[in-house]
Amino acid sequence: MSRFTAALAAEWRKLTSTALWWVLALGMAAYLAFVGAAMAFSLTVAPEGQAPPLGGLDAALTVYGVLNAVGYVFPLVVGTLLVTTEVRHKTLTQTLLAEPRRGVVLGAKLVLAAGIGLLYGVAGVVGLVAAGAPVLSAVGDGAFLGDPQVVRALLLGVLVTGLWAVLGTGFGAVVPHQVAAVVAILAFTQFVEPIARLALGAVDGLSVVSAYLPGAAADAVVGASLVSQMGDVDLLPAWAGALVLLGYAAALTFAGRLTTFARDVV
């Protein structure tokens, strides 16, 4: 086994030997099931005599689009935890005794984050489809699960969930304090970014900037979101959105390598 694969195996065993990772994955599936069903109802059910807000494929795409729009906190948090639990429980000492090359440790964490993020994406899709599709087909115009646009949206949703997890690991390397990192993530994703996107979108010339915010970049990959439909913003092309997310992940990881992963471990 090479040093890198050994480090990756160690990271995998560390993550899967405590309960948190599957608790979070279950939480993500359940949360998306709830939001998916609620969304499907609200889009397809209308008061007597009025047309439902959305119908057909549009309704289906909007429901499946919440995978990224509301689900991204979970992969972000699990990505951060790969670093922050080690700092919190002081297991970083043992980790660095086993692999003193800190770049190898960080690299293994990023690769694991990508894999676990994709897994979370699948968990999210399962929850979303399990609860959203029956509602869409029973109350609305159909689940459209075989539609190529729907399949594409779901697959890209899984991909973007993987990217969020990688970004989370980079963030954890910059903010290794577990509570601070989770609070910062919640504050940024639930508050700062949505407000920034609306505000920037309202100002002429600045809406270009808002497309480069991480949430907007992720929306660009998937192609839809609640917030991007509310504000009148232009999204980047899907490939550029993915690159922007990777860029954030790379910049954060680099910063983390120079701070948390360069410091004395005492």
């Binding site: 160690a10 030997s17 405590t18 297991t91 003193p100």
Partner: protein, 297 residues
């Protein structure tokens, strides 16, 4: 694998304005147990962390077998280490903790069970570490250090939190490992704790070396004392005052430091002093240790 010597050369470390380790040099040989001694805050843990690549030295070098720890192809298999304040995830079982580090030192789960048995944790192997006692954690740390069956061991205060039975077991175990030719470095802030275990001692105080030798050489620097019991202690006190000896009450008798038993006996005989006991007492290493580490203050 050949056991590596451990060596620090002109090692120094500052944490801001705190000089934790200063111009420290010593060498730890294979096949012997070396005690790394110093009072609280004297820089033991910091030195060991520098040796293991966790803390970057401000000055000097710390080497394992002539190279920096991180430069070895599989460092975790060369040096097994258990450091103070190394954490365990409370939600992980003891067995899972070991299994997590097994791939990087190239061993399987079988070996994890083996070391757990060696340290007496078999029954607790599948319990979460959050429920372990202090001594059990100490044992798990030791098991982690032993995982790769390494030719060198670095243990930071391994006796902390162990019961007397555990301490006796640890003593024998460390002696056994050294007898196999391994390099064994154990730190402690109490000389008495390792006195029966170590061959060599390295004593530091305030980050600097104050003594490095074999244990027997250290013992030789402590003068022997003579223990005397007499029914007339006031006459013994007079005699000591006459001769310029110090005479300290201890237990049922008195101790006369730095004067051979023969000399005390002869003086008592000449003075007609009745003695019930006259014995040479070994050097009190703990006194020597206090004197050495206090001198740097």
């Amino acid at each position: 694998m050949e056991a590596p010597a451990l060596e620090v050369v002109g090692l120094g470390k500052s944490f801001g304005s705190v000089r934790a380790v200063d111009d420290l040099s010593f060498r730890v040989e294979p096949g012997r147990v070396t005690g790394f001694l110093g009072p609280n805050g004297s820089g033991k843990t910091t030195t060991l962390r520098m040796l293991l690549g966790l803390v970057r030295p401000s000055d000097g070098r710390a080497l394992v077998g002539g190279h920096a720890y991180a430069e070895h192809p599989v460092p975790g298999a060369l040096v097994g280490a258990a450091l103070e304040a190394t954490g365990f995830h409370p939600g992980r079982t003891g067995a899972a903790h070991l299994a997590a580090y097994a791939p990087q030192v190239g061993v399987g789960r079988e070996r994890c069970r083996e070391v757990l048995e060696q340290v007496g944790l078999t029954a607790a192997a599948d319990r979460k570490v959050g429920g372990y006692s202090l001594g059990m954690r100490q044992h798990l740390g030791l098991a982690t250090a032993l995982l790769a069956d390494p030719p060198a061991l670095v243990l930071d205060e391994p006796a902390n939190g162990l019961d007397p039975e555990g301490i006796v077991w640890l003593r024998g175990f460390l002696r056994h490992l050294a007898a196999q030719g391994r390099t064994v470095l154990v730190s402690s802030h109490v000389l008495g704790e390792v006195q029966h275990t170590v061959d060599d001692v390295v004593v530091i105080a305030r980050g600097s070396l104050v003594h490095a030798s074999s244990l027997s050489e250290l013992a030789a620097t402590a003068g022997a004392r003579t223990y005397v019991e007499t029914p007339t202690p006031e006459r013994l006190a007079e005699l000591c005052a006459e001769r310029g000896w110090t005479c300290a009450p201890t237990g049922a008798g008195h101790e006369v430091p730095d004067v051979p038993a023969a000399e005390v006996g002869a003086a008592a005989y000449a003075a007609g002093l009745e003695l019930h006991q006259l014995a040479t007492r070994g050097a009190d290493l703990e006194d020597v240790f206090l004197r050495l580490t206090g001198a740097a203050a």
